[in-house]
């Protein structure tokens, strides 16, 4: 009987079996930015990053690969390439920011933005290393510098992504306040992703706590914001390269807001 029928009868799969099958065949989501898995357990993460373009690709799609490579001997070249990319990217974004005023701002704005970003990073690197050590991490200075370089590169690459939008707005408004606000929003979004990368790297550094990193992030934000005021004007025009008056960024913003609102109200009454 059964011997004559080699094909067994079709038994409809149970509901749990169907769910199990659906789970197995479900498309695998991309690896998370951070996780309990040790870096380099996937062979793809061990592939060296030969140049800056590969570093950009890895930063966006395989951040774990970049984090693994930053821990390898000879990561200095990679860090230098990332810093160079961040510098060039910030120059490109600076040119777009400079189109708002045109003229000399086409070179002043990129120089100020790129220099300001690099100086901010340089000022904050020692404190980042100290906070890393205080949190119990065994990370070396080069690893910490690599994380900072990765954060800067991600931020500036994202800013280039925002550049076409920033250019359209800079051609259609005369308000420095508005353009400043727009650039600030773009910078904050870019920084958010940069900080996320930094935290992902930090989670692999055996730190006992992230409190130090969180404090450092606030410090970095304050330094970068103050840098925009210390190097003003970046968007508007000025007769001098550096400002003649010292101000804190909150005071400067408040002054700008006040003058812009009073200007807007007086225009409305004409």
């Amino acid at each position: 009987m059964n011997e004559n029928n080699p094909v067994p009868p079709q038994i409809p799969p149970s509901e749990s079996a169907q769910k199990f099958a659906a789970k197995i065949y479900e498309p695998v989501p991309p690896p998370p930015l951070s996780g309990p898995r040790p870096l380099g357990d996937d062979p793809a993460e061990r592939v060296p990053i030969p140049h800056a373009f590969a570093a950009i690709e890895a930063l966006l799609r395989q951040p774990r690969r970049l984090l693994f490579q930053l821990r390898q001997p000879g990561a200095g070249e990679l860090i230098a390439a990332m810093l160079f990319t961040a510098f060039v990217s910030s120059l490109i974004y600076g040119v777009v920011a400079g189109t708002f005023s045109g003229g000399t701002q086409l070179w002043i704005a990129p120089v100020k933005i790129a220099a300001g970003l690099m100086i901010s990073a340089g000022i904050c690197l020692p404190s980042l290393y100290i906070f890393t050590c205080l949190s119990g991490s065994q990370a070396r200075l080069s690893e910490v510098a690599g994380l900072l370089a990765g954060m800067l590169m991600l931020m500036t690459i994202l800013l280039i992504g925002f550049a076409p939008v920033a250019w359209i707005f800079s051609q259609s408004t005369e308000s420095v306040l508005w353009m400043g606000l727009l650039h600030l929003i773009f910078w904050l979004v870019a920084t958010l992703f940069g900080v996320r990368f930094m935290k992902a790297g930090y989670s692999h550094a055996n730190a006992k706590s992230h409190a130090g990193l969180n404090v450092w992030i606030i410090i970095f934000l304050l330094v970068a914001l103050q840098m925009t005021t210390a190097l003003r004007p970046i968007l508007g025009k000025s007769e001098t390269f550096f400002p003649t008056e010292k101000k804190f960024f909150v005071g400067h913003w408040f002054d700008c807001l006040k003058s812009s609102v009073s200007e807007s109200r007086s225009n409305g009454r004409d």
Binding site: E26, P30, L60, P164, F169, T173, E174, R265, G268
Partner: protein, 241 residues
């Protein structure tokens, strides 16, 4: 791997597949550049949004219809191009590891769906406009104006919503997770709305005004922006007296 040449052949009926949201076929299309398909989608955007724009501008003047027929597809295409880079960067950062080609194709297809819907509604809007009292410099019928304006809002909202529903389905299929798809869609939408609003502001007018001349750009098109204008309006609601 390069697809076989036969796969490059496309048929205009593929637009129906797109409208039905057949994710399997659509995700396959997004995996490779196919110039004829790209051309088909661009043609649908230019024709669909163009016809709708013509129906919108016709009430004011035939010349206004021509201008809006050019401007409407232009807004869609410029928004897509302006945000292409940042959208491609945001997708992997938010958990959807797709290449630039795929993110661009996905957004292009969602706009194609919206444009096809707009194109299908353009005869209806043209009929509505044809039945409305003439827009003259002497008088404009406010009820008619409001009706036409609301009808445009309803149709554009419907087209945009359907385009995004289909885009969400595609993103779920590509990413395998609803949460990731929602995150990416939200980020893309925010960027597209932000830039799209400003481009619409620069390229105004659309319906037109009987008291203002027919123009491609208003005189102060590049003075001020959409959000500045909204802020200024809010400030003038609360005068400083």
């Amino acid at each position: 791997m390069h697809p076989p040449a036969a796969n490059l052949k496309i048929h205009p009926a593929e637009i129906a597949t797109l409208l039905r949201g057949e994710s399997e076929a659509i995700s396959g299309w997004s995996e490779q550049w196919n110039p004829p398909r790209l051309l088909l989608h661009l043609t649908v955007i230019v024709l669909g949004a163009g016809c709708y724009g013509a129906a919108m501008g016709w009430w004011r003047d035939p010349q206004q219809a021509l201008f809006v027929a050019i401007k409407f597809p232009l807004i869609i295409l410029l928004t897509m191009l302006g945000n292409a880079l940042i959208n491609a960067m945001l997708a992997p950062l938010l958990g959807l590891n797709i290449p630039f080609r795929q993110s661009f194709s996905a957004i292009l297809m969602s706009h194609t769906i919206a444009a096809a819907i707009l194109g299908a509604f353009s005869p209806l809007m043209a009929f509505l406009t044809w039945n409305a009292p003439l827009m003259t410099t002497q008088a404009i019928s406010l009820p008619a104006y409001n009706l036409i304006k609301l009808a445009h809002v309803a149709v554009i909202t419907f087209a945009g919503t359907m385009g995004n529903v289909r885009l969400l389905q595609l993103l779920v299929r590509l990413g395998g997770s609803r949460d990731v798809a929602f995150r990416v869609l939200f980020a893309w939408l925010a960027g597209n709305l932000f830039l799209g609003s400003q481009l619409s502001w620069i390229l105004r007018p659309f319906i037109g005004s009987p008291t203002l001349p027919v123009q491609f750009f208003r005189d102060g098109a590049l003075h001020g922006n959409f959000y500045e204008n909204v802020l200024s309006s809010i400030l003038h609601v609360f005068p400083n007296d």
